[in-house]
């Protein structure tokens, strides 16, 4: 068209969401634009005014305010505002003032609505208040459908062979040969009078190996019932879990086959081979290498492999849960192997003990830049005079080893080497009770770390007991939860980004942002408070959030928003670390906004906003004295 404004078109071609529009559409939009200039300090939109135009900043900068005058956002070239009023056909709610001399391109409501209704990408990008954009941005990545993101059900190609318990081993072997499978599930005897709970349908599994080692090798009769040789402690996986999780389960339980359940009905069986076909290089091999390392030097040499595994998962578009749990499994394996080596070196422990992982490892949210938070729980017969020399040496060996393997010493001294954190079970129980009943600023910080605990070695049942104790004491304990909530508000997210700066809520600007301190950690803190208040069982933030959502203590939709926000912030942090590794730099948690894409900036801003709102809600919900 002859009247196309080339400068306007060029500008749109350089900025999302316009750059994604078809050329013709883009020219059409450009040819209908209106333009306005605002001197610095001049109001652009005032509260309550009618507005039927969408503002795109061509040059300059503006500030958006809340009704009460609080700064809501600062926007620069390529950013836009005013869409909310157009979409809802309502007067201006967020006044806008020019911060610098500003030139804006204005798009009329009709054109805007046309784009919004007909171009999905455009709508996704623009939609600010509807948080679904964040969800889509997380989902887009999963759609890339790499092996790591595949669900277990994708591995299933046939229904499992299920036989009744009265079947003889020989009959079972015939059926397995006919079906060409290496394992068979054994069901409970059908009994119409006794309708059992669904998850008791399958009572065991028999594999090729069982027939060899439990029947042939033992010289049993071929007509023995399958129940004689089956494995009855069944570990199973849900069909919606990730292949990666199935792999972790096999590893953890040292099994080669997993029944796949869908709503507790068996729909398939997957084997170790099935997974290996999918995964050639993964953390499984790193874990194997860890357990075959013969000394600390060999363990320390695996650091590169751990980082390689991390990078690979990021590049294969694993989500933050998969990466976090893989890194936690690796971290746990290092501890376990170091403890094995320690026991070889110092001899068996004089009394039972349990080695605890705390914080992100316990939550299965570990990344590569992490320090070690750990502790030792000792048997109640612990006598410092007699036993502590051994456990002190053990703790030092493990913590020194972890430091060499890339898990730096905890600067806060939360390690088993610290005598305070190397105590018998009864002392731990006193600690925790004391912390909940009489919280102080110091013990609240402890609670935030120690209340995410996981037993990695020894008497793991003690870890479970401590977890139960915490659950019981904190559940609906409004006084303690109010303190925890206040403590969780100490770290806040920034407001967003402006040009190449991070913008704080008071308008201050800084050059970088620590994504752990300002992002993932405050979310984890917040979720912990809610989880404690509903007595949730899980430790992983996503699992906790699931319970919290089920408990319906959050306003509708907020829990899902929070989940998406956590996933997005975590992934930005993870990708940033992987990028550092690719660039052969030492990874860290600090992100400079100049390295963020427009897409990441927008979504991060949304995520921070969700976190900020969630913090406000938490503050309200856990007011001291408020009945829960």
């Amino acid at each position: 068209m002859a009247t196309e404004q080339v400068e306007v078109t060029d500008f749109f071609q350089r900025h999302k969401p316009f750059s994604d529009l078809p050329t013709q559409e883009l020219s059409h939009v450009a040819s209908r634009v209106e333009i306005a200039y605002y001197k610095a300090g001049v109001p652009i939109l005032t509260f309550g005014q009618d507005n039927d135009q969408w503002f795109v900043i061509r040059s300059g900068a503006v500030e958006v305010f809340r009704r009460d005058g609080e700064l809501y956002n600062r926007l620069g070239e390529g950013n836009f505002f005013g869409e909310l009023g157009i979409m809802r056909n309502r007067p201006v709610r967020f006044p806008v003032v020019a911060l610098e001399d500003t030139l804006v391109y204005l798009i009329d409501a009709e054109t805007f609505n046309h784009l919004f209704d007909n171009d999905e990408q455009f709508a996704d990008f623009v939609e600010v208040e509807d948080r679904s954009r964040l969800r889509d941005s997380n989902a887009d990545r999963k759609d890339n459908n790499s092996l790591l993101t595949a669900k277990v059900e994708k591995l299933i190609d046939q229904l499992p062979l299920i036989l009744p318990p009265t079947t003889t081993v020989q009959e079972a072997a015939v059926r397995m040969t006919e079906e060409g499978v290496s394992s068979v599930l054994i069901s409970k005897e059908h009994n119409a009078d006794n309708i059992e709970r669904d998850n008791d349908v399958v009572i065991g599994i028999v594999t090729d190996v069982d027939i060899r080692s439990r029947l042939v090798a033992k010289g049993l009769d071929l007509s023995a019932p399958v129940t004689d040789i089956m494995t009855s402690q069944l570990t199973s996986v849900q069909s919606h879990q990730y292949v990666f999780e199935a792999m972790m389960l096999m590893l953890k339980h040292k099994v080669m086959h997993l029944p796949v359940l869908k709503k507790s009905q068996p729909i398939g069986l997957i084997s170790h081979q099935d997974i290996l076909r999918y995964e050639s290089q993964n953390s499984l091999f790193v874990v194997k290498s860890i357990f075959s390392a013969q000394n600390v030097d060999e363990l320390a040499a695996l650091t590169g492999e751990v980082r390689g595994c991390f990078s690979r998962m990021v590049h294969e578009d694993a989500n933050s849960q998969m990466i976090g749990s893989a890194m936690a499994v690796i971290g746990r394996s290092f501890k376990q192997r170091l403890l094995e080596l320690a026991e070889q070196k110092f001899g068996p422990a004089p009394i039972p003990y349990c080695f605890l992982a705390l914080g992100s490892m316990a939550r299965d949210e570990q990344l590569i830049v992490t320090d070690q938070d750990n502790a030792l729980v000792l048997d109640n017969r612990f006598d410092p005079q007699v036993h502590d020399e051994y456990f002190s040496a053990l703790a030092n060996f493990v913590c020194d080893g972890l430091d060499r393997c890339g898990y730096s010493y905890c600067t806060g001294g939360i390690m088993a080497t610290n005598k305070k954190w190397r105590q018998p079970l009864k002392v731990w129980e006193q600690y925790f009770s004391q912390w909940v009943d009489h919280p102080t600023p110091e013990t609240l910080l402890h609670s935030a770390i120690f209340f995410d605990l996981d037993g990695v070695w020894g008497k793991k049942v003690w870890a479970d007991m401590l977890n139960q104790l915490i659950r019981k004491k904190a559940y609906k304990n409004s006084r303690f939860l109010a303190c925890m909530a206040r403590n969780a508000l100490l770290r806040t997210p920034p407001l967003g980004f402006f040009k190449d700066f991070v913008m704080e809520t008071d308008g201050r600007q800084t050059n970088s942002i620590n994504m752990k301190r300002r992002g993932t950690a405050p979310i984890a803190d917040l979720i912990r408070v809610h989880a404690l208040s509903v007595g949730a069982n899980g430790r992983n933030s996503f699992a906790r959030l699931h319970d919290v959502i089920d408990a319906k203590i959050l306003p509708p939709g907020r829990g899902v928003d929070l989940r998406d926000a956590l996933e997005f912030i975590a992934m930005v942090r993870i990708r940033h670390q992987a990028f550092d590794l690719d660039m052969q730099r030492e990874p860290d948690n600090d992100i400079e906004p100049e390295y963020l894409s427009d897409f990441e900036r927008k979504n991060l801003r949304d995520a921070f906003q969700i976190l900020s709102d969630a913090q406000k809600y938490m503050k309200y919900r856990y007011q001291p004295g408020r009945h829960l």
Partner: protein, 251 residues
């Protein structure tokens, strides 16, 4: 077309210099009676706003020509760009861009500047075939140009050539405004004392002074837009209340 300097224009303006309080309304009714060419008659029929109309209420049209050279007598128009505006809004939907087959030879020297080539103009319409539509876009509005002499002289020269009539209209010259704002005697004197250079009033430099983005020059439509934005910036800087009468800035 902003690359000319004043000395390049060899003859005097055909219009007498007009004061800010000039009564354009009666000038237009007089000319309406005398005009013969229908579209021109129609143009004058729409009248002109009175001198005391607030700037913010005046319909405006930014106008720019690209030409084959510098002399209206020997050179002619190759491109016209215009865009309608007020001091609050520039309306790209009411913009126009013509490539014109020049009456005189297209010189290589100018091709280098505006980028319009011989093959571009070969199939282009002649000036007289777009004249009526051009006048339609100008009517009822005040013309805004950066260094208006180019537009007024070339337009008059073309009108003389095709219809044997002249056209006069009130005009806002963003270059003259900028000179007024930035080159007052006192300032110039102070600046010379301080050894500072006189500020440039070229379009791009003016725009930069108001933090307007850089636009590539010498596309008639882009230049018209650039000029329109500049006027908005000038008005919002020097007449922020926008109730000042248009006579303060027209000539």
């Amino acid at each position: 077309m902003f690359y000319l300097d004043k000395n390049a224009l060899q003859d005097k303006p055909t219009l007498k210099p007009l004061g800010g309080q000039f009564d354009w309304s009666s000038e237009f009714s007089k000319r309406y009676k005398n005009a013969r060419y229908p579209a021109l008659k129609q143009y004058y029929a729409q009248g002109a706003v009175s001198a005391d109309t607030p700037i913010c209420d005046v319909p405006l049209v930014a106008l720019d020509f690209e030409t084959t050279g510098l002399n209206p007598k020997t050179d002619s128009i190759v491109s016209i760009g215009l865009v309608a505006l007020t001091t609050q809004r520039i309306r790209c939907a009411e913009a126009k861009h013509w490539i014109i087959k020049p009456d005189t030879e297209l010189k290589t020297k100018s091709v280098v500047i505006h980028g319009i080539t011989h093959s571009d103009v070969a199939s282009a319409p002649s000036f007289n075939s777009v004249l009526d539509e051009l006048l339609l876009h100008l009517q009822g509005k005040i013309v805004v140009a950066h260094h208006k002499d180019i537009e007024t002289r070339f337009l008059n020269s073309a009108l003389q050539h095709y219809i044997g009539e002249e056209i006069v209209f009130p005009c806002i010259d963003t270059m003259a405004l900028e000179a007024r704002f930035s080159r007052t005697l006192k300032r110039t004197f102070m600046r010379s004392l301080l050894g500072k250079k006189t500020p440039s009033i070229r379009l791009t430099d003016c725009r930069a002074r108001y933090h307007l983005p850089y636009y590539r020059q010498h596309n008639a439509l882009t230049d018209a837009l650039a000029c329109a934005e500049l006027l908005q910036a000038q008005v919002s800087t020097y007449y922020p209340d926008e109730t000042s009468p248009v006579s303060a800035i027209w000539c």
